[in-house]
């Protein structure tokens, strides 16, 4: 026993591992925009289950609405409507953002109310305007399905519950990334991936300051910004709604009024209409409004067309096929 005590004292005096941790590698970005990685490692079983759940109407109260109802993969991860319709034909209050590359957003929803994809799944399930359901109800429905019971049992020890459903759906959503856009190829060193006009559009995109907000891997999606730095967009548009208050609805800070998460511009060509209120039906219209309210001037038609041409190079591929 004395020897044991002596040994323990030795351990205390001489730690088994180094006290100083290994230094963390600091990755310095080479530019404002980075390409999407070509591949990602994910649990395929969860992806498959998440895909099934993503398309499962049982998540809604009346078994009519699934995630895919508003986030169609063949329509750029949106429904291309100004506002989506949920159970009982209820109309949404904001435009549905794309589900593609959503993992690269630092917050979810226009007002950034949740941080992770897992947390995000809660919102539509409980929203009266979307699925109007609850986890106990959803779990109860899924537990009645032998197929789901079997699939969950293969992946999760604790079978069907809300956490596992959210985990599998979020994993599936992480698989919805769109690499290999022409602009990504350009960033990877293929100068011919973009035409001269598109390159000029990219130059003006940077010169006009768009890149100040639309940067990072998702070309946006990593900060909040006030909609209307120059001029009052909402007064000009009229019929201001609660949803127009943006981040203010989450924090209550006056400075956050009309602030929204900056949208990702990836696959922007495939996700009309634009902005949180879906008022801009075309890309040209959206670029024009951005110039007016974020830059303070009316962009020329040439500027708009060049920038739009650049924006169209941001359309990537899903599972090897262009969107």
């Amino acid at each position: 026993m004395t020897i044991g005590l002596w040994r323990s004292s030795q351990l205390l005096e001489k730690p088994r591992v180094n006290e100083e941790p290994k230094p963390i590698a600091i990755t310095l970005s080479s530019g404002a925009i980075e390409p999407i990685p070509l591949t990602r490692k994910l649990d395929n079983r969860k992806v498959e289950l998440g895909k099934k759940l993503f398309n499962e109407p049982k998540l809604s109260k009346d078994n009519t609405i699934s995630c895919a109802s508003c986030h169609g993969l063949d329509t750029g991860g949106t429904d291309q409507l100004q506002f989506s319709r949920g159970v009982n034909n209820a109309l949404g209050v904001v435009n549905t953002p794309t589900v593609f590359n959503s993992e690269f957003n630092f917050r979810m929803h226009w007002n950034g109310v949740v941080t992770t994809l897992e947390e995000q799944v809660d919102k539509p399930v409980y929203s009266e305007r979307v699925m109007a359901s609850s986890w106990p109800e959803v779990v109860s429905k899924l537990q009645k399905s032998p197929e789901y019971t079997s699939l969950f049992a293969k992946i999760y020890d604790d079978r069907i519950n809300s956490d596992n459903i959210k985990d599998s759906i979020a994993t599936y959503e992480r698989s919805l990334y769109t690499p290999n856009s022409r602009f990504d190829k350009f960033l990877r060193g293929e100068p011919n991936a973009l035409t001269s006009e598109e390159q000029e559009g990219y130059s003006r995109f940077k010169a006009y300051g768009c890149v100040s907000c639309h940067q990072g891997i998702n070309i946006g999606g990593n900060l909040f910004q006030t909609f209307g730095l120059f001029g009052n967009y909402f007064e000009d548009r009229g019929e201001i709604t609660k949803a127009d208050l943006g981040r203010f609805n989450v924090t209550g800070n006056e400075e956050d009024r009309y602030k929204f998460r900056v949208s990702s511009l990836r696959n922007i060509e495939k996700t009309p209409p634009y902005f949180h209120d879906g008022t801009a039906e075309t890309l040209e219209e959206a670029v024009e409004l951005m110039g007016k309210y974020q830059l303070g001037r009316q962009l020329s038609e040439e500027d708009i067309q060049l920038i739009v041409k650049f924006l169209k190079t941001l359309t990537g591929e899903y599972q090897g096929r262009p969107l």
Partner: protein, 657 residues
Amino acid sequence: MKKHQWFKIATIFSAAIFLIFLVIQSLSIDLEHHQQYQTALAHQNERKAIINQELLKSRYELFFSYDPLVNHLSKLQATQATLTTIPNFIRGEDRASFQKVLAKSSQAIEQTEILIEDFKSQNSAFKNSLRYLPSLVSEIANKTYAQSKQTNLSASLDELVQNILLYNLTSSEDLTSSVKATIKKLQAIREQNISEEESFLINLANRHAEIILSYKPRIDKLTQQILGLLNTQQSEELNKAYYDYYQKAVNKANIYRHFAYAWSLILLGWISYLATSRTLQLLQKSQRAESALQKMNEDLEAKVKERTAQLSDLWAQECLSEKKQRREKEKLQQRVRELGTEIASVSQGDLTIRARVTEDEIGTIAEFYNFTLENLRQIIVQVQIVVQKVVNNIKSNEIAIQKLSEDTDAQREGITLARETIQAMANSIHTIAAKAVRVESLVTPMMPTGEPGAVLINHNVEEILSMPSLNGKTDEKMQLLQSCSQKIAQLTEIIHQVTFHTNGVSVHSANEESRISDDAQNLSLIFDKSLRHTSKQANEEIEKLIAEIQAGINEVLITMNESTNKAKTQTQMIKATRQNLAQVAAMSTQINQLVNSIALSASEQSQASSRVNEILERVTTMSTKTSISATDVATSFKKLLTVTQQLQDRVSQFKVN
């Protein structure tokens, strides 16, 4: 157990518990958790440094991405979440104090996140204007120079861009007034006679410049706030707090360890003392035990010697005794063999053999054996006598039974003959009745003359006169029946006697046989029961038959006598009629009546003879049954004779003379 033993156990148990407590306390530092925690703290410091770097890059670089800032901030929050799991060795007040330090750190990170979000928004707007302003100024310069060639405007715009860029890069407040002065100058130019487009662009440039002027201080302030929140001082404070509490816990564990050392030494000393004292006690005890053992050994040795001597004596005696017993045993075996030889003939049935009686135990057995043989011999002699008597009796009875059977057959034949005779008599009576009717029919026409009637009457008289002779034959037959019946009664009496005698013999024989063997006894009993039962049954049936025969015969005799009497009366009347033939005509009516009476009587006789015939049939049937029973009795006697002869053969195997 005694009280002091309980006290000892309780003391040892308490000492062990106390030692375990000290050891557990001395090992309370979870080194693995400590290392993980220390690593998390170091990572947090690293993250903070990286965030600071990214913040500065975002602030001062034109081309940047907020992604690293976002990612590192997210990881910093994750690390902070890890740090909330405080190692268990920080306890009590130390834990509460450290939690406060940790909460302060968490609060700083939360505040940092808010500030960073604000920084990103404002910095983006700031960079937007900063990025766009040179382009806008260039555009204005080109347009105004092409249109109005205002060098003033061009110089002011260049000054604005230059001051703005310098303002962005430095923290000099003097540049603020220079920029503001330039803005005023541009505003003044704008109010001059220039185109609307030029005016709008100059105004837009001024607005961007104003945005830069207004946002820069706020961004710088935010930057300073963030850098202040993520400074090393705070990290060091957290690290120091953790290290202090860790050292405190280590010191505490060391104290416990030293106590554990000391206590274990005390326990070792105590155990050594106990062991030594116990060893000494054991040594003393063993010395005492050794001496006692030596003494015991000596005593034991003496006792062993004494007991060995005794055993030697006993052994010698035992050997002698054994030899003697062996001789006696051999002698006894010799005597047994001799006895076996002497009585070997008994197994052949010679009961006259006697064993030699000696003075030893075998002699006693031989004497008893001789006594038994003698008794057996006497029993066998008696059995032989009894069996001989039984055989003789059966043989004598066999003749009687044979005779009985023959008599029964004769009786049956006699009865059959009587029945035939009575049948003939009945037929004769029928004939008489028919003839009487005929007489009547003949008498009636002769009523006026009477002569032919007399002839007929005479004829009738002759026939009637022949009747007494028939009646006499009937009497004779009846007499014969009666004598047969008497014979049957006599035979029955003989059977009674035989049965009674046989019973007596069987009982006697059975008693004798029971002394010989169980087989013979069982056989005798079976035979005896069968014989008695058969004789008794036959006897009863014969008695019953005889009684019925006697009753039937008596009735026949009575009827026959009545018929005879009536026939005699008729004969007398016919004789008188013949004698008074002259008076026949006159008395024809009376004759007619008499003839009717004769016919009626004849009919009655015919009926009576039919009844007699029926009775005789029954007597014949009974006689047949009697004959069968007598045959059965004879057969049973033959079987009895066979069994008795077998018994006699077996008994004769014994030699008794």
